[in-house]
Amino acid sequence: MKNFPNKHLTEIEFLDTIDMFKDKLFRFAKRLLVSHEEAQDAVQEVVLKLWVQKEKMINYRNIEAFAMTMTKNYCLDRLKSKQAGNLQLIHSNYWDQERLEKKIEDRESVMLLNRLMEDLPIQQQMIVQLRDVEQFDFKQIAEIMNMSQGAIRVALSRARNTLKKALLKIHEYGT
């Protein structure tokens, strides 16, 4: 037992590290899975996977990006198995869900954006989430998405323009 004096400390260090980005993982998962509970499961799963291979974590120069990549893969797998099982992809009722969540300023804007983003292709949703919400730099996004920075910019531009059009349309009809 004397060989492991840092056993306890390591756990705290690990949790401190996770604390720095667990909200990002959660929001990323929720963007993809929509369901609050499923997003929580995703975070829990990713954290457990990280915990199991925590010795390796020192080797990853960017743990945060690595965790985001794991979250992405987990969520895409979940979505795939949902489709394979012929389960309907639930388009959430953000209007109901968000109503329960306090502390959210300008909820209407958030709800509107969530709704509009659901119609974007999944890849664009992820990129917008990473850039416009979490403010990752392009290098990190390229790493997480396993795409070139150029391709990321193109996808981002398409997504933003789709959102722009939708917002202008809504504004025009006075909603």
Binding site: I104, L113, Q135, D137, K164
Partner: protein, 141 residues
Amino acid sequence: MELNIQKLLDLYFDGKTTTHQDQQLRTYFLGNTIKEEWLPYKSLFVGFQSSINEKYIQPIDLPKKRGYSFWWASAAIIAFLIIGGNLYKPTHSYTEQEAHESYAEFKENVLLVSSHLNLGADRVAHLETFNKTTTKYLKKE
């Protein structure tokens, strides 16, 4: 200022703004003086900005540590079984004669046990009578 914002918006929709420029746009749209024609974009920047207020509040459960003693204990048990299994060798082998003798002895013992087992069996008959009688009695009531 507004000229600058127009430039930033163009860059933004081309996917070419830096994080710093994105921040400038956010600051502008969070303010109260937004140019009429850009009002539709307010939801975009305000929405993104407010999205980060959503937090993961569940506690994180790490698997409970069983400690190293658990692993040592299981290792010790396995080692004991392996070593013990290898060390155990019958001290001498039985001849056929001896085997028959012990079989006979065993049979005798078992028979003895079974005869004792049957000792209580006739009492069961009494129990049945008792059962009948009670039923009769109860029926009469």
